[in-house]
């Protein structure tokens, strides 16, 4: 549709590889045989009805949830129970949550420098420089010394994005980053995300903002009942979906 939908430069470098991933909550089979490859610079939007397992899928990618069967490889590291491995992966995968989850007892700046300093063992000065850089990137450098409680929802979510970026992740995961925001704030967050996409960040994004999906996604994945039902480039996905579930879903969600 526009220049954002071009295939990324090095299409062959796999960043995420899910092979036959299954997951159960107790007896409940949430993820069924998920197969998904994401190459570097790809921007993927996950959508689907509530409870279809979108969150679970991306939470499996940084081991906030454990999968029980199948293989997940992130940037060449396989996710096992090895704590070292998990730590490495987590520091390379940034995640942004629906409810921001900023640390309320730390200032915006401290939120951003915490992980670089303690995980990357970065000097404080340097961590702060990088943090300010990213805060400028999300256009709130002037809030650096406030506490999260003093910011609006949109501002908080942008801080959350900056916080994740400060770890210089290779992949960013977003779990409905705008759904807890008032309508007037959604745009500022989406703009920030579009900016990120333009810089070539590999992104996996659970969202129902179809406008956003059209603008930035290389691929839209539709999930239902724990399975990937359809995946396609957004033009195809929105104009001419193959699957009847997808059509139904789209008809409900668009207008």
């Amino acid at each position: 549709m526009n220049d954002m939908n071009k295939q990324p430069a090095s299409a062959d470098q796999l960043m995420i590889q899910m092979e036959g991933v299954h997951k159960w909550y107790g007896q409940f089979h949430v993820l069924k045989d998920i197969n998904l490859n994401v190459t570097q610079g790809e921007r993927i939007v996950l959508c689907g009805p509530s409870g279809s397992g979108k969150s679970t899928t991306i939470r499996c990618l940084n081991r906030l949830e454990e999968h029980q069967q199948g293989r997940i490889v992130v940037d060449g590291h396989e996710l096992t129970n090895d704590l070292k491995q998990i730590e490495t992966i987590r520091s390379e995968v940034g995640m942004v949550f629906q409810h921001f989850n900023l640390f309320p007892h730390l200032t915006v700046l401290q939120n951003c420098t915490l992980a670089p300093m303690w995980v990357r063992k970065m000097p404080k000065r340097q961590a702060e420089e990088i943090a300010m850089q990213y805060l400028e990137r999300v256009r709130i450098p002037e809030q650096a010394n406030k506490y999260p409680g003093q910011l609006s929802g949109g501002q908080q979510q942008r801080v959350a994005i900056a916080r994740a970026l400060c770890m210089k992740p290779k992949i960013m995961l977003f779990d409905e980053p705008t759904s807890a925001l008032d309508p007037e704030m959604v745009k500022e967050v989406l703009d920030t995300m579009i900016g990120l996409a333009q810089d070539g960040m590999t992104m996996l994004c659970v969202t129902h903002e179809m406008g956003f999906a059209r603008t930035v996604a290389n691929r839209v994945i539709f999930m239902d009942k724990g399975e990937i039902v359809e995946q396609a480039a957004p033009e195809k996905f929105f104009t001419n979906p193959e699957n009847e579930r997808t059509q139904l879903f789209l008809s409900q969600i668009l207008h």
């Binding site: 107790g26 193959e242 699957n243």
Partner: protein, 365 residues
């Protein structure tokens, strides 16, 4: 156009569900947890079997003297033979039916208050709260309407403990509410008086207060003025607990939005009427769990009257353990006391949790 065929749900891998899965995730999820489980099991094994052995298997239940006990396990014979004293103290044996009757009346009278569908619940409740103390006093103490007097010095045991706690809460509640209102008053002098009162009572240990009441009080009164020792202890306990209740109630008052005060005022209700009709009913309902918790604390605190020589439940047990005929029964005595206190307090705390739960639901309505 295709129709997606959903894959069937598969059963979870057996190591993730069922007993095995449960144990894996709840007992052995990591090496540290496995270690903790083993340590926990060892602890249980260390405590439970000897305890069961002592309290039940090897225990002696029948007999009437110390010699009937093998001393391998607990000697419950001791409790059994002193049971009446633990319950009634030195209340004359032939008049104990009066205590029983008072207790039965208390329970029977209170039941309708806890049932959902009692008609005129509020009116019945107020009537009960006024009438019962009179009846109970008549039954327990007597001295009028043809009832033989049993002086308070003969009261004792669990009966006394319960009486102190009940009178304590009945007195502390209204006083505590007044103090809470006073503490939030706009009149600085009233506020200062209430704050001082509350902070004083919350700052000193109950036993010093009880000691004062038991031996020093007449020093402050004109000569010849005489108050019953039990009554003085109760007054002190009421003051003491009222300070705590006041803080609980204050929390409730603070939780009532300002709009409620304004709406009441705008309707022309004065201070007392808006308090009685609008604010307090809401505030008190909010803090019922807090009040029950205060009552539990009060119930436990009654054991301190031992320090001033009142024959409450704990004291009657302590005295019994000093009886030469039953020497060496401390453990049995204290375990029994602990059990009884525990039953009461645990029961009440469950009730308070239940209320909290119910209130939570009420708010979400």
């Amino acid at each position: 156009m295709t129709t997606h065929i959903f894959k069937p749900d598969l059963p979870a891998p057996s190591r993730n569900v069922g007993v095995v899965g449960w144990m894996r995730s709840n007992l052995f999820s990591s090496w540290f947890n496995t270690l903790m489980t083993l340590a926990g099991l060892y602890l249980v094994w260390l405590i439970i079997p000897p305890l069961l052995n002592w309290a039940f298997i090897q225990a002696d239940w029948t007999g009437d003297a110390r010699s009937d006990c093998s001393r391998e396990g607990a000697c419950w014979v001791f409790i059994q033979s002193r049971f009446a004293q633990f319950m009634y103290g030195f209340y004359p044996a032939d008049l104990r039916w009066r205590v029983d009757l008072a207790a039965v009346l208390a329970v029977v009278g209170a039941v309708p208050l806890f049932l959902k569908k009692t008609p005129h619940k509020a009116r019945f409740g107020i009537g009960y709260l006024i009438a019962y103390p009179l009846i109970a006093y008549w039954l327990l103490h007597g001295g009028f309407l043809g009832m033989q007097t049993v002086s308070t010095s003969q009261w004792g045991g669990l009966m006394l403990t319960i009486i102190i706690a009940a009178v304590g809460i009945a007195g502390a509640l209204p006083l505590g509410i007044l103090l809470a209102l006073g503490r939030r008053s706009e009149m600085p002098a009233i506020r200062v008086i209430c704050v001082t009162f509350i902070e004083f009572w919350r700052g000193v240990p109950l036993i010093t207060v009880l000691f004062m009441s038991s031996v020093m009080l007449p020093l402050f009164l004109p000569e010849g003025m005489n108050l019953d020792k039990l009554m003085r202890a109760m007054v002190m306990i009421i003051f003491f607990e009222a300070a705590y209740i006041a803080e609980v109630v204050r929390g409730g008052l603070q939780a009532i939005p300002k709009g409620q005060y304004e709406a009441a005022a705008a309707m022309g209700l004065g201070y007392w009427r808006s308090m009685m009709l609008v604010i307090l009913p809401q505030a008190l309902k909010l803090v019922i769990p807090g009040i029950v918790n205060t009552f539990i604390a009060l119930f436990k605190d009654t054991s301190l009257v031992i320090i001033i020589g009142l024959f409450d439940f704990l004291n009657s047990i302590k005295r019994a353990t000093a009886d030469p005929a039953w020497l060496g029964m401390s453990t049995e005595g204290y375990v029994f006391a602990a059990f009884v206190y525990w039953i009461f307090c645990f029961g009440m705390s469950r009730y308070s949790m239940h209320l909290e739960h119910k209130l939570d639901r009420g708010h979400k309505r």
